[in-house]
Symmetry: C2
Subunit: 461 residues, 2 copies
């Protein structure tokens, strides 16, 4: 069976690109999510061109074999996890930047190009590709599109979706669909581009993307402050929003994440601070300085202390380091479930306080970091994976956090996606009519259910 | 038959809201498009609440009667035109602003609220709702969403779609679907919100919208210049784009539209100028002045003359008046077909020159105005509706303009929509796979084809 499948694939795809060696296959089993099951692929295809993708999908359709598309496998929701007997379709090797067009501020890329590679190529032409998920040095643009990745820039510049103008997509039957357009505006037909952005490989396989770029951003100015309570930090964020400023970055760390950062790098952050906020403005030299001074005043007025305005960009990066490295700092505390709830900005402090209560009630450490300006927070539920009871409590905390997010008018996932991790929660957010429509849309694109099966939602009610 | 329909509607909707008087019905026949057929409705329902909309759709589904949703009927593509025997479903009376939430910069509105009313209400709270189609004083937010309306602000702030966070939609069977979310970010499930934005009433009826607001914009600075050729104006736009500036407005008028404006208001614009550009920056007092000075230099360097920087906002509005009133100025020249092509910004001059050639070849006047910064141009094909040959040539010119737009890598419609006017052109842009997917999506939401039938596309290949 596996031999027949591999033979059918090799009929149109060079043999070295069709992997059947079990040791190599095992390395394609899963992304970076915790607690998500993964199966053993029958074969992995390392696509180099759109025709390879078409052939994979035709063979898969003919033989009824599931296809799991993969990029950098840096996802945090299991969206790229293999299922038993599937074809893993890796787009990582389709990594060419086909065009950067400064006159129209547009880039055309293959899906496997790394975010960092595109960002650097754009910068070399005086342009700026804003989406900046934490994984930007190792995640692919195709994966960023498939999950509608966010990052630190979103508070001013928006999410990945805001930069996708057009897509080439291979449908389940191997046909090519072109969505969207190269132009800045356009309303010819339904917005199929946005339907594919964030669809986590369940509707088709993205093989090319036309992306909007911006003019190069100006050097940011930075301010950081500590707060005596989460409520004070929330108040500070509210004051910044109410002032009408749009910072280019507005990040949050709670006490547990500050302590983790301290232990990781001996950063000398005071252990008694309940929270830290870091803000940047890139509004141009004088303007940014004025905005940062205003933000510093709002931070102080809300009770912030140790308010530090960076002298220059380098010092700004140092201040931001604690936040950038929080991911690794928290990682050293144990196993963890990274949550990703987004709430209305005005509910930020409320959300963090309720998460703190969950941590206390369940006897767990749950450092919270996040994108305060968007209300998008990442509680990291830390646990000892060898302790069955801790695992149980961690899962309970993870669910409780989503429940709190929904109760505060938020969403179960701000930027990490549903994948396998939050599949059972999707209906609570969408409602049964929404879920039914999702299933019907899925059937339009993938009637046989071969595309990344089991991800985002189950196909049956 | 009509009586049975009206009776069924009145079973749940107050009788005065169910219109059957033929004279009144006639006023609901069509929007502002030219050359689009319209039928006679059997009945018009002036909905006041979501339950009315649900009842209309249930009755329509039961009886197999088409439903044509309408807002302000200011559309330019016939998307709101009645078909014979249909129920016109007017949302204009659902015009409440339900909430403006400054802490989260969000508004929740019913679909019938006028764009201008929402804009003003937001401004009163120090907030800004950017979408500004020319019709903003008479068009509804629901209509703006259904057509993904653009305007003058788009070059910096984006289109209507960029401000829609969540929708309440009544489906063809009367069920309520909630899409999207109130938060700034969110990736739970497919982007159904964007699927409805721009779908022109063919997938469901929008009964409530949650919209993102921005902080109040700062007072803009303005510069205008005349150009000796369209190519020089195109070069000026290219220089502005290459400089990395993002103006808050960048508008174009060609010679024919300048002349029309002159005749309309005796504006004293030189008749020998081939084109005019007007730019604004709202980047804050000093910064805006610096940006406008830079743009003025780019205009001059590209060959612009009579470069005028407005002394203050009032003078800026005066400069912008010629552009704002172009619509009315051109209207006085005769009947017209307003086209709406969007091309890559670098092809702007090329596009206008080719349109000029079409005008010369066919012996027609085709003033061109548009949103230069987005490459979105509105050639206005002027003709005498009583002259059969002119009508024929006008239609030919209209088609030729879309052909040119597509050939230059553009789209047949940047912001006015497909409606009836461009339905036959949609497949050329989408391709047959794209059109097939559109039809299948339509069937998911509207299996019986009762929602705004015949608009955007025909249901059969």
């Amino acid at each position: 069976m596996v031999d027949a499948l591999a033979d059918a694939l090799r009929a149109q795809i060079p043999a070295p690109l069709v992997v059947t060696d079990p040791d190599r296959l095992a390395s394609y089993r899963h992304d970076m999510a915790t607690f998500c099951p993964s199966g053993m692929p029958a074969v992995a295809v390392l696509a180099r061109e759109t025709a390879h993708v078409q052939h994979v999908l035709k063979v898969a359709s003919d033989l009824g074999v599931p296809v799991v598309p993969q990029g950098g496998r840096t996802g945090l929701s299991g969206g790229a996890n293999a299922v038993d007997g599937c074809i893993v379709l890796s787009l990582a090797g389709m990594d060419r930047i086909l065009e950067i067009d400064p006159a129209n501020r547009v880039a055309v890329v293959e899906p496997g190009v790394l975010n960092a590679v595109l960002s650097k190529a754009a910068a070399e032409q005086g342009l700026f590709y804003p989406p900046d998920p934490s994984s930007w040095e190792i995640s692919t643009v195709g994966g960023n599109i498939a999950t509608n990745a966010g990052g630190l820039c979103c508070v001013k510049y928006g999410v990945t979706a805001d930069f996708v103008r057009a897509l080439e997509v291979v449908l389940a039957n191997g046909e090519i669909l072109h969505t969207g357009r190269r132009t800045a505006k356009g309303v010819a037909g339904y917005d199929l581009t946005r339907l594919f952005v964030g669809s986590e490989g369940t509707l088709g396989v993205i093989t090319r993307a036309t992306l909007a770029l911006r003019p190069a951003a100006e050097e940011p100015r930075t301010v950081a402050a500590l707060f005596p309570s989460v409520a004070a930090a929330g108040e500070a964020v509210a004051r910044v929003v109410a002032s009408g400023l749009v910072p280019s970055l507005l990040e949050f760390m709670d006490q547990a994440s500050l302590r983790a950062a301290n232990e990781y790098r001996r950063m000398g952050l005071p252990d008694h601070a309940a929270a830290m906020l870091i803000a940047q403005s890139d509004a141009g030299p004088e303007r940014a300085a004025a905005e940062i001074a205003t933000i510093a005043r709002h931070f102080a007025d809300a009770g912030g202390f140790d308010v530090i305005e960076a002298e220059d960009a380098q010092e700004g990066e140092l201040l931001l380091n604690a936040r950038r490295e929080a991911h690794y700092a928290i990682d050293r505390l144990g196993s963890r479930l990274i949550d990703d709830v987004c709430v209305p900005v005005s509910r930020l402090a409320d959300f963090v306080q309720r998460v703190e209560k969950v941590a206390a009630d369940l006897g767990l450490t749950i450092p919270v970091v996040g994108h305060a300006g968007d209300g998008n927070l990442h509680p990291n539920v830390v646990f000892d994976a060898t302790d069955e009871d801790q695992v149980r409590r961690a899962r309970q905390a993870f669910d409780e956090i989503m429940r709190i997010g929904l109760a505060l008018g938020g969403t179960i996932t701000g930027e990490h996606g549903v994948g396998l991790l939050k599949r059972d929660w999707l209906e609570r957010e969408l409602g049964h009519v929404g879920l039914r429509i999702h299933r019907e849309l899925k059937r339009v694109f993938d009637p046989a259910g071969i595309l990344n099966p089991g991800k985002v939602m189950s196909l049956e009610a």
